[in-house]
Amino acid sequence: MPARLPYAYKYLRAKKKFPHVWCPGCGIGIVMGSIIRAIDSLGWELDDILMVSGIGCTSRMPVYVDFNTLHTTHGRALAFGTGAKMANPNLKVLAVMGDGDSMAIGGNHIIHAARRNMDITAIIVNNNNYGMTGGQFSPTTPQGAKTATTPYGMIEPDFDICKLTEAAGANYVARGDVYHVMELDGLIKNALSGPGFRVVEAMAPCPTNFGRANRQGDAVKMMELFKDNTINVAQASKLPKEKTEGKIVRGIFVDKDGIGYTERYQDLCDRVSSGVKK
């Protein structure tokens, strides 16, 4: 669709930084497309957006987009983002992380960012393994799955990103995938549109590592798995339990407008500075 090109170019460091590092069939580029479409529909200025990431395949995303971009250390995107948001509350802070980045090494940071209701939107691309280092298991690798470090199958239970961040206090929690991409656009747009800590888990295929290790077929076959094995939360509520069993539920699980940390801190400053002459 050549007609669409100029619109995407506005958001990409198109002339300088492509081709990208992602493998053929990777889902991360689709999530990046969703983020760009969501931001475009909100009409945000490029100068106002800070995209912060940690380490991993997903965390390479900031190189390709023409925002303020910060590629940090493994797991720390939310801690860096917290500091940037506090120092300049006008920044719209968007953290992009993978499942290992956000749930393992960054696990402490995400539960506390959620607890504080820090005004950051976290987009977590979940491909169920560490892609960049060659497909080792992550906290979201399903039990039984084979990876480079679970050659006999994963014996640990996995994290549910949405339940974890909901329990920790996030204002908005949703799950989508890269097959249902129009839906993902909407989930991300919603996530960007409110206060507090807001999470979108975007399930994506890693055909190079996870797919190959678990004989899930090529990239197209893996996309079909999202079509067949997931169900929207609204549809799921109408169906009998046996029809939804074993399916991963997509959609919005939490949507609150609790006061974000930035506003709470400003309230504190206003309260304690009243009467103090400076």
Partner: protein, 381 residues
């Protein structure tokens, strides 16, 4: 006490002077995690900063704390954290990132006994090599070691200024004795304090290079949200901040990172020198040990015995040339340290075999006393 008591004279604790020095330097953002013996810094700033609309946060750990202040600094805030040994170990990750990405910040490490949890409320100087080499890879280091409460105040301001001037983290390392002791401190008047404000570029947006290679190796830094959009990564990067593996770009980055410090020793070197030229026996020390050295010097003077004292205030970069010029002609250099021997290796490196470099270690959590120093001097005389 509210705010900096400009021009007043007060009884002030070392850590309190650090906190007030940060306020005097115009700190915008503090992030930290509780740890003895540095907690007063965080506590005082938690009380003071919201009153003047500045940002303060207690993070979930020390890794998060230093990460947060790097983010804060990149978004335009003058940023600081404070910790002690175990926290300093955790902060090495962020410290290396800040060195590599050339982000100004101030890290206060109030030294306690180690390794590991060690002696939480007792004094040591065991982190001086960690401050230089603790984070992986070659990297610049600017480290200041105060010896009294007045210096805690002044060197904190200086640390903020150097951080801006050199676009790099600056570490302030009081030992526990300095952090916790109280002394009379006369604060300067506000107009007497020199504060270097954060830089900002004045080039057109499309000309901006986040790591422009200027004559000094340091160029004005734009901040997130200023309209200059740039990329920051801990990966080795080109002048625009984007990852590179091109040999010439890698070498250029690494050389500039080193030389922006090593070529500016004229600005960075800061020593405190007493009777060194006329003495054959010198005590080389830093931090709280210097106070005992001064007392020992007085005791010995009454016995008509002359010793000199050489104290680096900026301990990194090490004052190589001055140490070589001033100390290589001496008979004995006594190096008392609250560790098992760290800075002594730097002194040995710079002096010939004809100079006796004598260690004096204490690592039981207590100060080196003037009497210990006097006895050590008499023994080598």
């Amino acid at each position: 006490m509210s705010g900096v008591p400009w021009g007043e004279t007060k009884l002030v604790q070392g850590n309190e002077a650090v906190a007030l020095g940060a306020l005097a330097a115009g700190i915008d953002f503090f992030a930290g995690y509780p740890i003895t013996p540095s907690t007063e810094v965080a506590e005082i700033l938690a009380r003071e900063m919201p009153i003047i609309g500045k940002k303060w946060i207690q993070m979930e750990d020390e890794i998060a704390s230093i990460s947060a202040i790097i983010g804060g600094s990149l978004a335009g805030g003058r940023s600081m954290t404070a910790t002690s040994g175990p926290g300093f170990s955790l902060m090495q990750e962020g410290l290396g990132y800040a060195c590599m990405t050339e982000v100004p910040l101030v890290l206060v490490n109030v030294m306690r006994g180690g390794p590991s949890t060690g002696l939480p409320t007792q004094v040591a100087q065991g982190d001086v090599m960690q401050a230089r080499w603790g984070t992986h890879g070659d990297h610049p280091a600017i480290v200041l070691a105060p010896s009294d409460v007045k210096e805690c105040f002044e060197l904190t301001i200086k640390a903020f200024n150097l951080a801006e001037q050199f676009r790099t983290p600056v570490i302030l390392m009081p030992d526990e004795v300095i952090g916790h002791m109280r002394e009379k401190l006369t604060f300067p008047k506000e107009e007497e304090v020199c504060v270097i404000p954060p830089s900002s570029p004045d080039v057109p947006l499309e000309w901006y290079e986040h790591y422009h290679s200027s004559a000094t190796g340091v160029s004005p830094m734009a901040h997130f949200g200023s309209g200059y959009r740039f990329h920051v990564t801990g990966l080795t990067h080109d002048t625009h901040g984007f990852p590179t593996r091109k040999v010439d770009e890698v070498i250029s980055k690494m050389n500039r990172l080193k030389q922006k410090i090593t070529r500016r020793l004229d600005v960075l070197e800061h020593n405190d020198i007493h009777n060194v030229e006329e003495s054959k026996i010198i005590i080389f020390c830093y931090g709280s040990v210097y106070r005992s050295a001064l007392a020992a010097q007085q005791i010995l003077a009454k016995q008509r015995k002359k010793i000199g004292i050489f104290r680096p205030v900026t301990i990194w970069p090490f004052p190589d040339r001055t140490v070589k010029e001033m100390l290589d002609t001496k008979d004995v250099i006594l190096v008392p340290e609250l560790n098992q021997g760290q800075m002594i290796h730097e002194v040995e490196r710079l002096t010939s075999d004809s100079v006796r470099v004598v260690p004096l270690h204490r690592y039981d959590g207590y100060e080196i006393t003037p009497e210990q120093l006097v006895a050590a001097v008499l023994e080598v005389m």
